[in-house]
């Protein structure tokens, strides 16, 4: 008998973290303000109270220090889960992430594991000041040795964070911060989740394929609804995993539809869309009726928030791109 409850993404992540800590006492949380405050987004709310200061660790204000000490803890057999307060503050830790976290397993020829999860609230749309709305995923996906996933909804949040923590390789875990407290969804804790590193068709369609992840999944679904009212049937895939990519469902879809648009908040130039487009073109060359089109941020720093909605991919820009694929 399954009981369900309606939860937000913030709640799903909080519940998932709690579950992971109950299941394995090697799991530790680390970060700035994750303890008493429960994080600036309250994702770790209540966890220090219940698991103590040794397992939910408020750190000095130094991201390299947080990730670097987590490497040491992982070497000692712990499973640190790090919260980076905002996407834009992951960069002081970049060296430790790409040179140590990502490489330790390879360097030791598999003798050492790095089961570290680095949680990053990412993306814009919350009216914030500079450095609080970044989408750094491509840089991590480009780095071998890291896995990168993005959740897009409360139920995935609950399951994916547990799966990431249970996983033996390092995972960059991206959370669309504008969704934290937005929509609720029904969680059935007795359900069996899909594997972590899989994409998922979230709306079936036949005319064109729209790929999205994290915050743009909602945008893509809205675009599909709008298109449907005009008689155009869009298939929407939530990529969920950015590295490794799970391209099989994408190829299958694009071979059927012949048209593909990918949308993300990150800059188009060298963003995930570039890689996905290149792979689709390599694998589905003869099926493509049009080039894969990319809808993302312009190649400029994130703008002042008053105009962020004009920069972020929205329903209209996605539909415009879909239209353009039909112009080919």
């Amino acid at each position: 008998m399954s009981t369900t409850q309606k939860i937000t993404l913030a709640k799903g992540l909080n519940m998932g973290l709690r579950k992971a800590m109950e299941d394995d006492d090697k799991v530790l949380l680390m970060g700035e303000d994750v303890g008493k405050l429960g994080g600036v987004f309250r994702i770790t709310d209540g966890l220090q109270k219940d698991f103590g200061e040794d397992r939910v660790i408020d750190s000095p204000l130094a991201e390299s220090g947080i990730v670097g000490t987590a490497v040491g803890m992982a070497l000692r057999g712990y499973r640190p889960v790090i919260e980076i307060q905002f996407d834009g503050f992951v960069y002081p830790a970049y060296d430790q992430i790409v040179c140590q976290v990502a490489k330790y397993t390879y360097r030791s020829q598999g003798k050492v594991k790095m089961p570290i999860v680095i949680r990053i609230p990412f993306g814009g749309g919350i009216g914030a000041v500079e450095h609080h709305s970044e989408s750094p995923e491509a840089q991590f996906a480009h780095t071998p040795g890291l896995k990168v996933v993005a959740c897009s909804n409360p139920v995935d949040g609950y399951w994916m964070i547990q799966q990431a923590i249970a996983h033996d390789d390092p995972v960059i875990f991206l959370e669309p911060k504008r969704q934290y407290h937005a929509d609720k969804a029904e969680l059935d804790e007795t359900a069996t989740p899909e594997p972590l590193f899989t994409s998922r068709v979230v709306r079936a369609g036949s005319d064109a394929t729209v790929l999205a992840y994290g915050p743009t999944v909602k945008t893509a679904l809205k675009a599909a609804e709008a298109a449907a009212s005009e008689g155009r049937n869009l298939e929407v895939i939530d990529l969920r995993t950015l590295s490794p990519l799970d391209m099989a469902p994408v190829f299958e879809s694009v071979r059927r539809t012949g048209r593909c648009v990918i949308t993300h908040e990150a800059h188009v130039n060298l963003g995930m869309g570039a890689e996905v487009a290149a792979r689709i073109t390599e694998q589905c060359f003869y099926s493509l009726e049009a080039p894969v089109l990319r809808v993302g941020a312009f190649d400029m720093p994130y703008p002042p928030s008053r105009i962020e909605e004009e920069y972020l991919p929205d329903l209209d820009r996605v539909l415009d791109a879909v239209d353009r694929t039909f112009a080919f």
């Binding site: 700035e32 429960g38 600036v40 000095p60 204000l61 914030a128 000041v129 450095h131 008053r306």
Partner: protein, 385 residues
């Protein structure tokens, strides 16, 4: 040899005990009760006019802060970083500067900006989301607000190294000799960048004053998470002096910062000033400090209010009359009006203009994106899907 040995110098002996009230090393010239005290090293003969000026500066700064906080509550600003309680630290530091000195602020240096002649209205743009720092840093020698914790301390050090190369350090000419002040918080002291700034500044003997407002908190984390000894002592390990001043005492902060700047200008290198103060408000308007600190603490610090103590001193010594307060009140009201009206009138950024700012000259790539975007926007005129 397994018995515990005393290992190296006894820290308590070297540094003295850490005390929540600032400890015995706290430099103070005006007590919380408004009593003028003297210090053997750091003192200054303040004229009545100077004292009234510092009082006025603090009152206006608090007004800026209160007004901006209200604007945020009314939805006019997305967020605001309050300085309530830190007025003395900022005015003391800000007034110690000469025009040729350069400031590298955090996101909270509204009082210093005001001292440097930046129109407070300009500070609102960042928080309203219409710009990311709307003033020209070179107009008032006041850098842009820096949000990435600690990054500006390196910029400050590099700027100071530039001053050395420009020959404006240690010439003996007071109008020429220059220094840099780098602002940061107690939490920031843990960042690698800040410690590297100490190293570079020491290594090159750069004319920079590291001015840390220890307001006891980095969002929810108390100062004890960042250091287990008084923070000003951090500097000693890098080979330059550190000093703790009562950051709620505008006179002491002024005197100490002035000495530190002068030292730098004269070519004697970096120093560290820890302004021991307290963030009486929330971290920002989105923070809820009741989740992590006791009200008692706040009440305790309210008794040390930086403005009150100078008011008491001015009154008690007959340096002000009712007219002064009335005038100041009017001035503060005028400031409030300026901010309220000005804020709403701040022009929204123009999306199309943004393409201009990425590089000093627009690249073809960016021009193409701009043109596409323009064509896209134009496609909505007339019909709309």
């Amino acid at each position: 040899m397994s018995d515990p040995v005393s290992f190296g110098p006894d820290l308590a002996e070297v540094f003295g005990p850490s005390q929540s009230d600032g400890g015995p090393d706290l430099v103070q010239l005006l007590t919380p009760e408004g009593e003028r005290v003297h210090h053997p090293e750091f003192d200054h003969d303040f004229s009545a006019e100077e004292l009234r000026g510092l009082y006025r500066d603090m009152v206006l700064t608090r007004r800026i802060d209160v007004e901006a906080t209200a604007l945020q509550r009314h939805g006019e600003l997305g967020i605001w970083a309050q300085l309530l309680g830190q007025e003395a630290a900022q005015i003391g530091a800000g007034r110690a500067l000469r025009p040729q000195d350069y400031v590298f602020p955090t996101y909270r240096e509204h009082g210093v900006a005001y001292c440097k002649g930046v129109d407070p209205l300009r500070l609102l743009g960042l928080f309203r989301g219409v710009d990311q720092g709307g003033w020209d840093p070179n107009e008032n020698n006041f850098g842009l607000y820096t949000i990435v914790i600690g990054a500006q301390t390196l910029h400050a050090t590099g700027y100071a190294m530039g001053m050395q190369r420009d020959g404006v350090v240690g010439t003996g000419d007071p109008d020429r000799d220059s220094a840099v002040i780098a602002h940061f918080g107690d939490g920031a002291s843990s960042q690698g960048d800040v410690n590297e700034a100490f190293i570079f500044a020491a290594s090159y003997n750069a004319p920079v004053v590291f001015f840390c407002q220890n307001n006891q908190w980095a969002i929810s984390e108390p100062i004890e998470r960042q250091t287990r000894i008084p923070l000003y002592q951090r500097a000693l390990g890098f080979g330059f002096p550190g000093i703790r001043v009562d950051g709620n005492d505008v006179l002491a902060t002024y005197a100490v910062t002035k000495a530190a700047l002068q030292r730098a200008r004269e070519g004697n290198g970096p120093s560290f000033v820890e302004a021991y103060t307290y963030r009486m408000g929330a971290h920002t308007t989105t923070d809820d400090p009741t989740r992590y600190r006791l009200n008692d603490e706040l009440e305790h610090w309210k008794l040390k209010d930086p403005i009150e103590r100078l008011k008491v001193y001015l009154r008690r010594n007959g340096l002000v009359d009712q007219q002064f307060f009335d005038d100041l009140d009017a001035e503060a009201k005028e400031m409030g009006h300026h901010l309220r009206e000005g804020c709403k009138a701040l022009p929204d950024p123009k999306p199309m203009d943004q393409f201009d700012y990425v590089f000093t000259e627009m690249t073809d790539e960016i021009a193409a994106q701009r043109d596409e975007f323009a064509a896209y926007l134009a496609s909505f005129e007339g019909s709309h899907s």
